[in-house]
Amino acid sequence: MAGAGGGGCPAGGNDLQWCFSQVKGAVDEDVAEADIISTVEFNYSGDLLATGDKGGRVVIFQREQENKSRPHSRGEYNVYSTFQSHEPEFDYLKSLEIEEKINKIRWLPQQNAAHFLLSTNDKTIKLWKISERDKRAEGYNLKDEDGRLRDPFRITALRVPILKPMDLMVEASPRRIFANAHTYHINSISVNSDHETYLSADDLRINLWHLEITDRSFNIVDIKPANMEELTEVITAAELHPLQCNVFVYSSSKGTVRLCDMRASALCDRHAKFFEEPEDPSSRSFFSEIISSISDVKFSHSGRYMMTRDYLSVKVWDLNMESRPVETHQVHEYLRGKLCSLYENDCVFDKFECCWNGPDSAIMTGSYNNFFRMFDRNTRRDVTLEASRESSRPRASLKPRRVCPGGRRKKDEISVDSLDFNKKILHTAWHPADNVIAVAATNNLYIFQDKVN
């Protein structure tokens, strides 16, 4: 696989030196709930970076063109557009609020000058068009410059309106609203490689949509039992294959992944492949099922592998082998002895995401104390880094962190009991081609990149 970035930098997480680039968001200790970032996503080119927050807003950052005077310095990301995607709603039938929190954003591949993305909260998916306007027409015949209509009888001559430049304006407009198709909370959306359809998954069902059609969708997976009292398993994530438009996977709260082929039948209740790692009987406890619950599943860019994230580890699976993963990477094994406390304070239900780098040679996922972890699949090395304002000088190198599992704490190590479990990194994203990463730490967005020569 080709290396990413320029200048001969090897791809991967560890041969690189990661440096601070930017941080976005308020500095206050007092975090407004609405500002908590709930999703981060680069677009296909990596020039745009979108974040969604609990307040239902979407903020899109655009990468500046590389500065010709500093050819090796990568462009910064600056705010491109901000808009309110979802508003809080009230379900009168159930007397429950519907949160406006943006659960996921997925970009569509760019087909013209405008950019399109899908954003979803618990119940409704919206297709947004983000377009630029940098010209306006002047010299209309039927209306004045300030918009008032001219009296047609007073028009004695015709003129052709001319286009004049104006300050760039970025507009976001909702083009489609896909509503009323999910009884349960939507956890995933995924755009198909055919660029015409996409899927949305909630706790019990998965629907397939056409981007042009909002008044109906096809239900392709339904695991709701006839008697809800028999419910023991829910869908936790779903994704369409990056290359095969008929294949998708969905993960469950029991630590299993099912791969389905839509050509087999209209309702994909029977999987084509079933991925589950046999449980280690020696480590069985009352928490075994909870920590095996998969919080995220992502195909590799190549489409040959997929990655699953459970509470303590990240696993890479070869799609051709269902019996066990080909790689298992421990994220924070030192938490295994603390599961009871983490169950008590609900941390054990935190849903961490994971992501691949462009060449699929490295993977990244978050942890607590604003730590995040990177694993290089080729060198088998891993590193723990921290997203913190203390190391936020421009181009400052990030120092690897170490957590001391117990016993004697060495210098520069942090003991498990000192970890801040309120500072969780659930959402991370990796630029599709370059070694640039975006890490969401509560209400702050950190951007890191590899050290340029």
Binding site: K94, S341, E344, D346
Partner: protein, 235 residues
């Protein structure tokens, strides 16, 4: 970065790892740990009823944990009611107190009960799911009226947890100054002692006399029970 797992700086409530908990020279018995995990789980399920629809995945995982604990307790005979014949159904208190007796006996042994004790309630617990309680969780608008084939003692747990608003858990403990009880006092029928809750399951609203005095190992376990009570009272 000096955050702690417990925001208010309380001492560790759970018995994770091999760390010594303050004041307790030995780890609590397996039964006690299991029971407090069950209690914690049941409280978590009850607290799901917020303005926003509860997280279904979390509820399912907690309910599965409750089921696993119950199944294991069934195998151990933990749900067994003692032999003493009772003419018809006794009052709530009577059933509760006998269960405490059973549990106190195991705590005295300080060991996990032998798995081959016959259980007198196999059928009820063998049901695929504690039906009525879970139907409350999955469907926010479902009625909480019917109990189904729920074992009597768990029934009582749900009744007591649900029927006392606004703080159902605090209602579990009979009057008296604080949330703590002396197990001695409870078992010997005196309510309103000082330290230590009884039984670990919070049902011992009133306990008639006749219980055997708790042993030293019981007293040690009270330190652990303190933690459990703190959890239950503060939620």
């Amino acid at each position: 970065m000096e955050g702690t797992m417990f925001a208010r700086g309380l001492k560790r409530k759970c018995w994770d790892g091999d760390e010594d908990v303050e004041g307790a020279p030995a780890a609590p018995s397996y039964s006690l740990q299991r029971q407090s995990l069950l209690d914690m789980s049941l409280v978590k399920l009850q607290l799901c009823h917020t303005l926003v629809e509860p997280n279904l995945c979390r509820s399912v995982l907690i309910a599965n944990t409750v089921r696993q604990i119950q199944e294991e307790m069934t195998q151990d005979g933990a749900w067994q009611l003692p032999a003493p014949p009772v003419a018809g159904r006794g009052p709530l208190d009577h059933l509760v107190s006998t269960e405490i007796l059973c549990r106190a006996a195991w705590e005295q042994q300080g060991q996990r009960p032998a798995p081959d004790l016959p259980s007198e309630l196999p059928g009820a617990l063998g049901a695929p799911a504690p039906g009525s309680a879970q139907s409350c969780i999955w469907e926010a608008d479902s009625s909480r009226g019917h109990r189904g084939s729920f074992p009597k003692s768990l029934d009582q747990i749900f009744e007591t947890l649900e029927s006392r608003a606004p703080s159902p858990v605090e209602g579990l403990f009979a009057d008296a100054g604080g949330p703590y009880y002396d197990l001695d006092a409870v078992l010997t029928g005196m309510v309103g002692g000082k330290s230590g809750p009884g039984g670990g399951d919070g049902l011992q609203a009133l306990a008639p006399a006749g219980a055997p005095p708790p042993s030293a190992s019981c007293k040690r376990d009270l330190g652990e029970l303190d933690h459990v009570v703190e959890i239950l009272v503060e939620t």
